[in-house]
Each structure stands twice: as C-alpha cells, then as structure tokens.
Amino acid sequence: MPKTNAIGLTKADYKGAPSTLCQGCGHNSILSQIIAALFEMSVRPEDVVKFSGIGCSSKAPTYMLSRSFGFNGLHGRMPPLATGALVADITVKGIGMSGDGDTASIGMGHFKHVLRRNLPLVYIVANNGVYGLTKGQFAPTAEKGLTLKHHGQNPYMPIDVCLEALAGGATFVARSFAGDPKQLKALIKAAFHHNGLAVIDVVSPCVTFNNDPSARFSYGWARDHEAPLHTLDFIPPEEEIWLDRPLEPGERRPIRLHDGSVIVLEQVREDYDPTDRFAAMRAIEESYKREVLLTGLLYIETPDTAPVVRENLFEILNLPEDKPLNRMQEPELRPPRDALEEINREMFVA
C-alpha cells in the first residue's frame, strides 16, 4: 500500500504527465520537491494552480499536479497572467514556474512589477544560465567568462535574480540548488505559506548545454561550492512552537509566518539575519567574491520581523474573502436600474 497523507492522497495523486525534459535535468528534481512538499503538507491539488511562461522551465508544470489547473502562457508573461487569474479566486494557491530567460531577460519588467504588487504566488526560477529549447545560448544569468560550445565566451555580467528580487522589494527571497532536495523542499513549503510573493531562485543545471564542472550552473560546481546559510525545517501551523529570546551562534531560530506555521533555521553562518534586506544583498555580493553558491532563505518579511508588513495584492485590491470573484453572478455584478437612472440624471440633460 502506498503511503497516504492526512487527506488520504498518495504521492501519485500529485504527479503530472511523464516528463519530456532531459534525463538528469535539474528541473525534474524541482518538480519532485514540489510534489513531495505538497504531498507532505497534505495540500489538495485542486487548491493549487500552475502558471508558466516559455522555455524548458515553463514546460515543467505539465509534469506535475495534473489535478490542478494550469496555464502555460507566453514567454516572459507568466507574472501578469498569474496576476489576472489569481484575482479570480484568492483561495487557490498559485505556483509560477519560470526560467532564467523567461524571468531575467524577456520578462524582467513583469518580474519587477509583480514584486511591487506582492502577488501571493510561489515564484520559482529554474535557473541554469543557458537557453535549452533553442539549444545553448547564454542566459542573462550566465556568469561572465562562461564558455559555451557554439557561442564562445560570455562577455557580459550576469543578472542575479535574488538581488533583483531584493531590490524590487520582495518579501520572501531564497536561493537553492536542485541537487539539495532537502533544503529545496523546506523552502518550497515555507514559500507556500508566505503571505505574498515568494521567490525561489533554484540553480537547476542543464545537463545538455551547461554542465561543465567549471561552470557556475553545473552540478559539479554547485555541489562543490554550495554554502548554505542554515539548515531549514518547516513546521506547519498546526504544530505550533514559539520561542522568543536572542539566538546564540549555531542555535535554531524560528520564524513564524502569518498563518502560524514556522520555519526553523539552524544557523550555519552565525552572523546571518534573514530579516535584514541589506544583509541579504551584502551576503550575495560577497558570495561572488568568495566564489560560493550561497543558498537558503536569504530574506523574509513576516508580521514578527517587519514593523510594517507589506500588503499583498489581494489586500490592496480589497477583494472579498467570503466568495471568490469568479463565482459572482449577475445580481452581484450588474448594478440595478436605479443606478443607471441616477447616472443618466447626472449627465448634462438638455
């Protein structure tokens, strides 16, 4: 008998169509961790909706959660597509799958603006520094000096998705590695419970076009250079714990999310404070100098960590919580006759 979760589903209930991504593609590992995270949290697949743009990353949602609605839209346009859709039913949780080109190149503008709006969405960037479907061009996240088979050396500086997210006012920023499933799964769980936009930039190596061990986005380099900030555990709201005193280096630090769930961080770098946006930006800059892949929860804003918590888009739009917009019908939507009579009277009448 396969194992079932609290709502009686097996892991198979979270699966999608068979993957057509390359064997060993990091994106497959990301999908496995999304599936595992939702299964373990006993989330109904019907309560989830998937969005994506274009690229290998954006094909991935087909290969998970076939019981969830999904929309694979246009290149770079996942954020606005998800924005429009999620407004329709705020009880559905959105997962957006994007890639380095989709987010940091063609869709950079939308990425920055969905951050501003703080749309409740788990925004995963499957980042491998290379264009796969078009066969091996430099992505905007590729490191300067990267050499690719058909394109020589990359002469440009990379865009760091996490830095952009931090500068854009993101309320949840994490970086992970497809080869670090435990950490990735914990981050996905935490992101799922975050009350706003949660960005997870995942180094997700492309085994076909960018996996030379010298390349920053390869399995070899990432494994050898990963520097986790902390180990993470995610504790769902029903298992509430709370602890409120100064932390000693190496101690476990709980961060409570708005719904009562808790992320427990066991500090590896004793001086790292994931509630300090500037510290996060500095740590990322330093990681380039130190030549490491810094992973973990880089930044989070919760009711306990920020004096003023940013409203999410649904709150800004003042949407009803008792009934999704898309279940409203004519009596709720079409103003009555006397409203039009009133409007007509207010026009300049001859």
Partner: protein, 611 residues
Amino acid sequence: MTLQTAPRAGVHPSVPEVVNDFSITVGTINGTGSQTSNLTLLRALFRMGIPVSGKNIFPSNIQGLPTWYTIRVNKDGFVARRETHEIVVAMNPATVHEDMEKVVPGGVFLYADHLRPQGLREDVIAYTMPVNRLARESGAPPRLRDYVANMVYVGVLAWVLGIDMEALHAALAYHFRGKAKALELNYKVVVDAYQWAEEHLEKRDPYRVAPMEATRGLILADGNTAAALGALFGGVQFVSWYPITPSTDLAETLERYLRRYRVREDGKHTFAVIQAEDELAAINMAIGAGWAGLRAMTATSGPGLSLMTEAIGLAYYAEVPVVVWDVQRVGPSTGLPTRTQQGDILFAHFASHGDTEHILLFPADANEAFEFGWRAFDIAERLQTIVFVMSDLDLGMNHWMARPFAYPDQPMDRGKVLWEEDLERWEQERGVPWGRYLDVDGDGIPYRTVMGNRRPGAAYFTRGTGHDEYARYSEDPEVWHRMVHRIKKKYRLGRKYLPRPVADATGAEVGIIAYGTTNQAIPEARHFLEQRGIATDYMRVRALPFHEEVGDFLARHRVVYVVEANRDGQMAMLLRMAYPRWADRVRSVARTDGLPLTAAFIADGIAGQEG
C-alpha cells in the same frame, strides 16, 4: 441675474440672417482652461434645444501649444465636422493670423484685443474683446486670471449670437457643481463681457441662435464615459490597462464608477482594476482573468494594440474570453497621438501570427459605445474568445448628443461555463468524460471549466501550444488541422451573436457602407448627394466578421462606396476579400488627416466617382 437676450437689429439688410446653422471655432493655448469655456458654450446651445457637436482639436502637449475647439450648430441635426468656420474666436497670439484666415467671407472674427492682429481682413466682420482688462476687473485672484479670461469670449459670443444666459448659467453650474464660488466668479465674467459687448459693439453679422426643441430629453456624453458605463453594466470584474491617449479616461472613468457602484456594504470590492506596467502586462492580466472566469477587459490605442498582438493570438487559440477597447488614434508609429483615425481595422481583425480572424464591433455613437460596452462581454464569454470594440478618439474624447443610456435588455450571458455540479450533470447526461475543447454541440463552442472549480476532473492545462480536445499537448498534424477548423467554425456560426448591420435602403442603385464614427457625416453627405441627383442606400456595418446582409447589400447595388477614415480603405479591402464576386462593385472613399471626415468630402468623393 437674467439678461435681455432677444436678437438685436443692425445686420446689413442685404444679408439674410443665419439661424442655428454655423460652426464656431475657438483658437486657444493648451492648458489654459479653455475647455471649460468651450464646454459651457456647447452645453448652453444644447440646453437651448439646438443640435450641436463639439470637436476638440488638441496637441500632444500638457501646456503651451495651440488648440482648437469647434462647435457645430445645425438645426437639421447635421453635426459632423465641416471644413468651413463661420465664427472664429482668436485667443492665441501664436495662431491669430492663421485663425483669421480660417473665417469664411462674411463670417465673424472675434479676437482678444491684446493680440493686435495685423491687416484685419476686409471681408470678415471683426469684433475685439478687452479680455485681459475684464479678467483683471473680475476680481479673480491673479492665478485664476488666465482661466477666467476664457469666459470673456463666452460672454461676448452670448451677445453676438443671442445665447440664452440662463442656459449658460446652467452649463456653468453643471461644470462647477458643488463649487459655488467658482460658479459665481466665472458667471460674473460672462455677464461682464456680455454687458461690455452690449455697450461697445455694434452687431454687424448675420449669425444668431434661436431656441428649438430638438434636443429635449437628450444628454451630452463622450464615448469613453459611455464605454465605461457600458462595461459597468456589463458586470465587468477585471480591468488591466496602461495609460495611452485617447483611451486613458475610459479606464479612469470606469474605475471611478466601479468604486461607486461595486463596493459591497462590508467595503469589499467585486472588481479589480490594475494599472499595469505596460500593454503586454495589461493584456496578459486580462487574459489570465478571463481564463479564470472573470469579465475582463483592457482599453488601449494603436501602439498598445501593437504590443498586445502575441497575447491576442493566445486568447484566440487557447479560447479565452476577453474584451479589448481600441480607442483608435492616428498611426502608424506614435503618429498623431491626439487625432482620430479608423486605421486599426485590418490590424485588429487579423492581429497575431498564424491564422486568426477576430471579432470587431464598431460603435458609431455614445449610445452604441454604452451598448457594446456590456454586450461585448456576452459575446466574448459566449464565443470564448477575444472581442475588440473599435472606438476612436472622435467618439472617445468628444462630446456627443445621446439618448439617456438604456439598461441592458438581456440578462448576462456567461456562456458555456461548468461549475462543480454542472460538470457532474454534463458527464452524466452525455456519458463521456468532459474535455475542454470537445465540440459536443456542433456549434464549435466547447464547454469550459474555470480555475477554482474543485471537482476532480475539472482541471485542465491551458496552453498556446498545440493541443487536442482534452487539452493535451499535441503535435499531431491531424489534431492541429481539426482544432483550427473547429475554431473557424465557431466564428462562422457565432456571427448570430454579433450586432447586425443597420440599413436604410429604398432601392437606389448606389450604396454607401460606413462604420463607426464616420456614420456621423453620412446623413448630411446623402443629403448633398440627393441635391446633386444621386440617390443612395446606406448600410452601417456594426461588426466583423460580416453578416450575410452585407453580401446581399453588395449584390443589390450597382456600386457601393465604402467610407472610412484611413488611407487605404481597409473596410473596402475586407469587403472585396469576403465577397470576391462583388469585388468590382466596391469603391473606396477614404481619407486620413487626423480629423473626422466631413460630409462634403464624402459627397464629393462619391459624386466624383459617379461622374
């Protein structure tokens, strides 16, 4: 205060009076508040019961460049733009000589005295106005003097033309509702100017207005407001937009009304309006919302539409209902951002790469802007597709006489949407599993579920890539062929949901086809043609694709002139494509210069080709 407004004597006896039949053009500087004065004149004349129109010819500029406003007064209801200007008011030193040249021989040239025009024309009747002195003496604080200065020409024109002062007061009271001081100050300037004119001017021109009953019960409204109200009563739920002239105030007005009529007692909104980062985002948001079951729309103009084209193809092929208002301006490129054109017809109809043919609606006036405002959602949801409403700057931003807006005469049509229990029933009745793109009714329209439907089996994966009846990814040639032809069938059979053409035909040999705002000039053009012995039938197309009546109209006429405001005769091209058998009957009468077409141009264009 009530003043004597009876027409004065003094016109040269050999010149007959011209009553309720002329155009007034005011040349001012953009950003000086002249719009208030111009609207006051327009409303006062309208309140007097006289048919009017007001056309604002303004620059793409915040402040400083020349701007003109033309009011046409016509007792017969012909209120399209004309080439001639009988009365010209000059308030702008930069254009005073140009403005003087505009006046027809025998017309009136009214100018601010500080402009000191050189070489006043002998063949016009010139009146001067001490604009700055009256503004100064009005008691207005210095910062308001430029604004109230524009009220001087209102008062002087009231004296020259005999405009009813009570109507002017009513117009000002409407404009300054709730602002008693502003009303008092502005009306005082109007009265002072009137009295100054009475004391210092001698009426020498033949023009005057006289009260009529032709506008009783009508309202004045701009098309953008009408469109916004239509959307409001269409139950719009989601609006994403990016500012662009001339569509901006459609979205802004809509949001204002939504905040008034669609906020629940608990303060929660039953709508969402998002000013997007660009038009790419605006259309993608609207598509997301339409896909998720909301009545979703965006409003834009040509450059924005250009940016939206990739997403338009997605909405077409993934079959997502969404409404796009295109308030057309002059293109290509940035073009003339503040001038009007019917230039996006071909582009919108075929927008996207690959095979598409979109639904276009053509509102001709404010009432249709309202009606198509709500109807567009019914069509989009019924046919599960993108619907364009092709307004233009002339309709959107100018004031039009209209009947009071009529409440929708049909309940909202949400189309074939399956919620949990509907899906259950659907599958029981048909005995097959539901598939998103299955054509079970034979009308090409499948059934759809929307995000948030929690019934197992309701979810499906939407994509712009090839897909089969069950929304599964497919590159199978047969599947692609089948799917795009099923969509084509949906459009062919779905025409019955679109507004039918309106015809006025009495068996003439010569036909006229027009659409949208060009309709405004057609009755007068037909009148001119009749005077020249050319009887015409008229059909106004209100939607694409064409209804069969359009083909019948071509079949029944020796020749059909297609009148439109663009360079190449875009609708004429579509007619020749749709009806190759009658292609040689289709003649184009087309022009684009940024201004609405005139009846004289249309009549000359047709008479010229008739030989």
